[in-house]
Symmetry: C2
Subunit: 325 residues, 2 copies
Amino acid sequence: MAAGASDDRQELLHLIKDGWFEETQSFWTGQRFSLQVEKVLFHARSAYQDVLLFQSTSYGKVLVLDGVIQATERDEMAYQEMISHLPLFAHLNPRKVLIIGGGDGGVLREVAKHPSIDTIHMCEIDEMVIDVSKEFMSDTLATSYEDPRLTLVVDDAAKFVTQDGHGTYDCIIVDSSDPVGPAEALFEAAFFQSLHKALNPGGIICTQAECQWLHLDFISKVYRACCDIFTEVEYAYTAIPTYPSGQIGFMLLYKGPETSAAEDDGECDDLRPLTSLRVAARLPSAEVQASLKFYNPALHTAAFALPEFARRKLDEARAKVKPRS
Amino acid sequence: MAAGASDDRQELLHLIKDGWFEETQSFWTGQRFSLQVEKVLFHARSAYQDVLLFQSTSYGKVLVLDGVIQATERDEMAYQEMISHLPLFAHLNPRKVLIIGGGDGGVLREVAKHPSIDTIHMCEIDEMVIDVSKEFMSDTLATSYEDPRLTLVVDDAAKFVTQDGHGTYDCIIVDSSDPVGPAEALFEAAFFQSLHKALNPGGIICTQAECQWLHLDFISKVYRACCDIFTEVEYAYTAIPTYPSGQIGFMLLYKGPETSAAEDDGECDDLRPLTSLRVAARLPSAEVQASLKFYNPALHTAAFALPEFARRKLDEARAKVKPRS
């Protein structure tokens, strides 16, 4: 499975120059992040995307999909811990969890740390990502694929969540790539409607929601669409050096305990529970906290403190939400 | 003053390749950030460093010193507002302020927004940085050099702060470049001792303090040294896409109201004032808040919420501080 065919070599020549991997910039023009390559470990085209794994000189192993960095062993915890523990610690008692995407295994590793969880469903579209991660990063990212609570499905998540019998999740974590390529459907209103249906009342969703420095208009659009569907909608973010502009955001979505979107009366703020998503509803046990390198309860709240330029933009989007009838 | 001499062209060829400025990586190996160049506006070597200013395709004008990005018009507010307003809003009534470095004028622009301030001293070592900023960025960064409260001194700050008659500052903001080259002395214990002397009791210092992702050992060393000198020492940070790893930190230093280092008895935590640096002591007026693109009081507190890996490291450093006798 290692790079060998001449097509692959051409692709590699395009991505790696003079020993440096240069990230593709179609979604963020005029800026470029590069990592020095020690050795290419894997390169192939799956049914969905270009999959590259290399050993870097200073960031451990690096997983790249369609020319965009997905995870490096040095800083992946900033993303995996935050996208997982923001919804899980905002929930009082998560028992059944759905992971969408996350083929590298990092979100699964974090979800598996919660003893209250008895059922983990995971739906990843690209089996090659899972296989590569299991083969090369079994001690760092893909540590928990043997967890007995896990049911792994290789399928299109947009299809998976509309199927009968998959409802009643307490938390859903959408660890998607950018909304170009295979993950495009995971940012559309229809998908969020499906997620809302798949969620238990009182349930919480956390989705990868792009970078406020680069795609604030896009975030604002998704935010507003979610305000039409969910009881509480919040935008949070984490620092992560190897993602574009050093940051990635999350949309946190709450389905009220005694209501559904159709029954809501008033703006999405009206039904905000007393404990907002901005505050951890539970503290990590000493054992779990000791296993974390990034998340802690103070950082949970800090993740929702937006810079003025973003706060204003999302406040404007919220103000435009029509009262439901 | 524009690039012209053959030496400068050689230097430029080194910094700009195929229309992209590639940042020099001596202080962060294996990773590289690049910006696309539209036009070089200025390039020369000053008495202290290589000074480059270019128009980028997507970040406005970009100031580069010794190959390292100092400010881009698109994201500079994240740095300038936080390094200025963290100490100024943590202080109840700042009247006399010293800016060290900050030749681009951005910190001065933010300091000048505080109506309580009647005296601003600024000490920048490199006049070329001031001149370039005034010539090319008078409407964005260098907006406040005509402020009647300003006394501008072109000198070595390490020397300036030891001179008689310069004491009694309420706030000191140290907007330095990295501790390689002209700013090296601004990270040494002797300099922090001088700053402590130059500060009023109850005064607050904020210094540029590198990135926790890249230089945590260095930060920890400076942090510990400051704990020996100041009543309260805190590390905060801001997101800024065009700085290495997308983030930069600040050391916030508080000199207790009724004490000096020599008189302290106990660890640096013992004399923490009721209102810690982590909370804004005053709220921005509506007018000032409207002028801000980044800082707000919620972000003030969030800036001190460290990821676990950094929190643990600085807690260890603090635990090693010897009680003063």
